[in-house]
Amino acid sequence: MEGTSLVELRGVSVVRQGYTVLRDVNISLSSGETLFVMGVAGSGKSMFIKVAAGITIPEEGDILYKGKSLDRLAPREEAAFRKSSGFVFQDAALWSNMSLFENLALPVRVHEPRRGRAEVDRAVRRAAELVGYGQDLGVRPAELSSGERKLIGLARALVLDPEILFMDDPTADLDETSAARVPAILDELKSRGRSMIIASAVSELAQRCADSIAVLVEGVIAARGPYGDAMTWSDARVREVTGRLKARDAPEPGWLKGLAGAWVSAMADGVEMPDSRGEPRDDLAGGGLAGGEGGKD
């Protein structure tokens, strides 16, 4: 498999109600890469990420996972793909008729049915802790704020410690403190070699986490390259999107500073911060999220 992309979109076009949302998209993601897909509102970012994750079927083109078309995966291979991928929805998309615990437990129960109740419980609580949600998991999503729902949506994507993550605007609806956790989580995932495709218009997040940038303009990939190249792109429509990106040595944005920023910086420095009970946090240490003592990798 040397040289094969982890995920590849070949000639993908999506038409919805007579409107072309994506047009002849060709892009690939290498293992361990963090690709930011940027674009103005309505440029097709959400559709792109759903197509890349195999949630939406395109009218034309092919999605390849480790060189094999998603269309042609055997049921067992498809289950393996789903188990090794996590998806964060823009609006969380939690199952409203289930408790938060059940929302987080379902992927574990589906993909690892042999796990005992205690193991499922441990995996669920680890994922919730990882995103900083320390409240009651027995409540329904309707009882949460949109930001809290988003955190649980993120936790659901992480509960099986996936190899690849698809995130649709991961900081949308989050308050400043919660939003500040996201880069730390992404950093941790990156450090553990996870691959990510992130649709976001937040330049600060891209500046911090992106290995490469793709710019969508009216459903077409108008630019694609390493993060460092993004500052040199001159096309006006691309600059409209990437204009706020700064070189990596530029100072950190304000929203990463303050108390939340201190937590994030401490995590980046490898310093253990006390949690609300005054105990050291170990949820971001490389122990795996899925409840196994040493992770699955």
Binding site: K50, A53, G54, I55, T56, E78, A79, F81, R82, K83, S85, G86, F87, F89, D91, A93, L94, W95, S96, L106, P107, R109, V110, H111, R156, F166
Partner: protein
């Protein structure tokens, strides 16, 4: 104009083929539900509880009322023409063969058909169905198959209860108003009741259950983006189910009486 008609016809054929494919997939996933023993099993139990158990009161009340009315009217009116024994044939035809399956179907359409279509519509708008796909759960096997089986099983069982309340329960009601001797009533009733009557009612309930569940699921899954589509899906599920159940009833009736 011809172009528009042609386009509409092609669209209708497309939708029909899509619905057929959807139906086939639901049947296939339903057959695999027990084999997989996946998380959908509790959904099946909940569906039977909602569609079958919770609708029992309404179905029983209707059966009692209709059975009692036939008893009361039949025993006095038909006796005037010396055809008192026809009351039992009418009871069987109406309760077991014709009205029972249809009325229980109407109850289930009103309760579960709308509930399933609007619930799924809401889930579609909230991207909950996509979330199932994202975690590797096939919405047809987890959402549709248990509901399909739940509605079919519930409707068949409800029809059995409708028969019990219509034929036996109504006897108790009539005793209060116009007593009939117990042995006379049941001897006459069982003299005209044939296995074919019960089979006919069973077959109709089975077919109606398939129609109601598949239509509701199809309409629910058909919701795409807006919350305003949700009530429309519910309304369409009710309308289509009513029409298809009546049509199927006529077809089965014709097969039974003309075939």
């Amino acid at each position: 104009m011809f172009e528009r008609i042609g386009r509409a016809a092609i669209g209708a054929v497309d939708r029909f083929l899509y619905a057929l494919g959807f139906f086939a997939q639901v049947v296939k996933e339903s057959a695999l539900l027990f084999k997989r023993r996946q998380v959908g099993f509790d959904v099946l139990i909940k569906q039977i509880l909602f569609t079958g158990v919770e609708a029992l009161g309404i179905a029983a009340a209707m059966a009692l009322a209709i059975g009692a009315a036939i008893n009361l009217i039949g025993s006095s009116l038909l006796a005037e023409f010396g055809q008192g024994k026809l009351m039992y044939s009418i009871l069987i035809v109406v309760i077991s063969r014709e009205l029972g399956p249809l009325l229980t179907a109407f109850v289930v359409i009103a309760r579960s058909g709308t509930a399933i279509a609007t619930e799924l519509g809401g889930m579609a708008v909230g991207h909950e169905l996509e979330a199932y796909v994202a975690v590797g759960v096939n919405p047809v096997s987890y959402i549709a198959a248990p509901r399909f089986l739940g509605v079919v099983v519930s409707l068949v069982v409800l029809n059995i209860y409708f028969n019990i309340f219509g034929l036996l329960g109504s006897f108790a009601v009539v005793q209060v108003l116009k007593p009939i001797a117990f042995d006379v009533y049941f001897r006459n009733l069982f003299a005209v009741l044939t296995p074919g009557d019960l089979l006919s009612g069973f077959a109709k309930s089975f077919v109606f259950g398939i129609i109601i569940s598949v239509v509701a699921l199809y309409r629910g899954f058909g919701v795409e983006r807006s919350v305003t589509e949700v009530p429309v899906a519910g309304i369409k599920a009710v309308g289509s189910s009513f029409m298809l159940c009546i049509f199927a009833d006529i077809v089965m009736m014709a097969m039974q009486y003309l075939g």
